[in-house]
C-alpha cells in the first residue's frame, strides 16, 4: 500500500474522539476504496472499546460483529473495511508490541494510530500496515490529508 488518503472531515472527528476518550483508548473501523496502490477512506465507524475497563488506557478491542455488519452492508459495492483506528493516549502513534501481534492477523488493513507528537505538537496521526512483499514487516504508510494535501503526519492545533 503506497498511500492512505484521509479526508479532513474524517480525521477531525477521529482526533476529537481520541481526545474525549482519554485516558482510555478510542477505536473504530475505517471504510474506504482501494485504487491500485492507494486507499481512500470514505467514512469511519466509531466502536466501543471492549477491553476490560481497567485495561482500556493501554488496550482496545473491537466487537468483531461490527466488522461483519459493516462488511455485509458494503458487500457488492466498491467500498470495504480498509482499516482500523485507535489511540495511544500517552504515547507515540507507533504500533505497540501488542498492536503488531494483531496487525499480523489483518495483513491488508491500514492501522491508523492517534498518539502524542514530539514536544508540543499535540495529538498526531500516523498510518501503518504490514509489507506483504517483505515477509510481513511493519512499515509506515504515507498518510495524505486530501483537503490540505499535507503529506505525512496530520497535526491538530493545540487549543
Amino acid at each position: 500500500m503506497g498511500e492512505f488518503q484521509l479526508p479532513r472531515e474524517l480525521s477531525g472527528p477521529i482526533l476529537e474522539e481520541a481526545e474525549r476518550a482519554g485516558p482510555e483508548e478510542a477505536c473504530g473501523l475505517i471504510v474506504g476504496r482501494r485504487r491500485s496502490n492507494r486507499v481512500r477512506a470514505t467514512r469511519t465507524v466509531s466502536c466501543d472499546n471492549l477491553a476490560p475497563p481497567e485495561a482500556r488506557a493501554r488496550r482496545f478491542e473491537i466487537d468483531p460483529r461490527l466488522l461483519i455488519e459493516v462488511e455485509r452492508a458494503v458487500r457488492d459495492t466498491d467500498e470495504e473495511v480498509v482499516g482500523f483506528y485507535h489511540s495511544h493516549p500517552d504515547s507515540e502513534p507507533i504500533p505497540s508490541e501488542l498492536d503488531s501481534i494483531y496487525m499480523a492477523l489483518w495483513p491488508d488493513k491500514v492501522w491508523l494510530i492517534v498518539g502524542q507528537g514530539a514536544g508540543d505538537e499535540g495529538q498526531i496521526m500516523r498510518a501503518w500496515s504490514l509489507d506483504l512483499a517483505d515477509q510481513g514487516s511493519l512499515r509506515e504508510v504515507r498518510l495524505v490529508s486530501i483537503d490540505t494535501v499535507m503529506e505525512g503526519q496530520i497535526r491538530q492545533a493545540k487549543v
Binding site: 477491553a51 478491542e61 460483529r65 498492536d99 492477523l105 489483518w106
Partner: protein
Amino acid sequence: MSVTVRVPSALRKLTNGQAELAGDGSTVRELLVDVGEANPGLLDRITGDDGEIRQFLNVFVNGSDIRFEDDLDTAVASGDEVSIVPSIAGG
C-alpha cells in the same frame, strides 16, 4: 444449497484468494472439515492441535458467536453464513 464460509484476508492465500467458500455439514466442525479438504492447510490455521478454534480467531454463524452457542458443534444449515473473523485489538 450449501453453507457459505467467509474467509478473512489473512487466510486467503490458502483459498486461492477466495473470500467466500461454499461447504456442507450439519455442524461448524463438519463444515470446516469439508472446506478444509478442498483448501489444504486451511483447517490447521483455524483450529489448533486440540481441535478447537485458535486463539485470536472468532467464528460466527449468521452473526452469532459460536462460543455462546455450542462451539464447533453449533448446528449449521443450508443458506447459513459462517464468518471467520480474527480478533481486532491492540494496545
